[in-house]
Symmetry: C2
Subunit: 190 residues, 2 copies
């Protein structure tokens, strides 16, 4: 599956069987803070603090979750994969950490923190000059077992898109009763 073993990040690193391409992944990863800021910064709380019901997340909660991922998930797991140490087991991710960690912070503060952490993490990622061979190296996920670095980085990218779509959905749901019969035409409300 590896085409250009030894190619550096500034060259094309393409794993064509999966569509993964590190350059294109970074294109998306680096714009996510701006996307989420443009969706949420300065919005009234009707949009930012409501969720979809019990045990669901508000846009505010989601930004806290993204921050926790920057600190404990993506880059720490990449470091485990690339380290010389033989133990390749990832630390399990806490999906509820944001409920403690966001306390007392404004949404604007959380957005700033996310932007800063993402910028630092992408600087680090670029500095690693990953080769196509590096992307095939493996770690041990607590539920899935063996996974590759390219799967981890692809997941980081899709995870951003997942939460962008979730923020849109949570806000859309606040208007579910308001659209009347149009609910039938709006997939986001199904």
């Amino acid at each position: 599956m590896v085409i250009f073993a030894g190619a550096y990040i500034h060259q094309l690193i393409l794993l064509p069987m999966t569509g993964f391409n590190l350059t294109n992944a970074i294109e998306l990863l680096e714009r996510t803070p701006a996307v989420i800021t443009s969706m949420l910064e300065g919005l009234s709380e009707q949009w930012t603090t409501q969720n979809e019901g019990p045990n669901t997340w508000s846009p505010y909660d989601i930004v806290g979750h993204l921050i926790h991922g920057e600190i404990t998930d993506w880059i720490p797991r990449m470091k485990i994969i690339l380290a010389d140490a033989p133990d390749k087991a990832f630390t399990p991710f806490n999906r509820f950490a944001q409920f403690e960690e966001s306390k007392g912070k404004t949404l604007s503060q959380l957005l700033d923190k996310f932007r800063l952490l993402r910028q630092q993490n992408l600087e680090y990622l670029r500095s690693c000059q990953l080769t196509a061979e590096d992307l095939t190296r493996r770690g041990i996920h607590p539920a899935f077992g063996s996974v590759t670095l390219s799967q981890l980085l692809a997941t980081w990218t899709v995870h951003d898109l997942n939460h962008i779509a979730q923020i849109a959905r949570v806000m859309a749901m606040q208007y579910r009763p308001a659209v009347g019969p149009w609910v039938a035409y709006l997939r986001i409300l199904q």
Copy 2:
């Protein structure tokens, strides 16, 4: 359901049974061009021109669809509702117009056009100084029959969020094979 009959747009117009609030709807409507531009402007075509398979739309197609809505759907339908003329039937919306109308245009040109049209439409909406009573006035939808102006405006807002989520999903799908076992954790790929 109407609380403040005669209240103008710069005051709170709230229909509490549905959650619709004109001020908050405009808060979302006015930021959509910036959100979609931050998602797409300058991205490589791997992200912007791929779709989810036959008879699905790429992000490029979606921006064309949003432009067509600005021209033929939301404000024209509002005008039909508010007009003195007795015929309240909406013109059916063409969901495929963008395939002709976007031809030869770059994504960047489409984003600019969407931003300009949205700005003009919101200027017009604000200039109407809609009252709570106006929001209960009705038009005839080709499929649903009688609908209110507040339902139309709520749908305009949710329609934006629907397509923001769709753009995220279409891009995420390009990496579906790349995430490996993580597909099980990513709702956007289901």
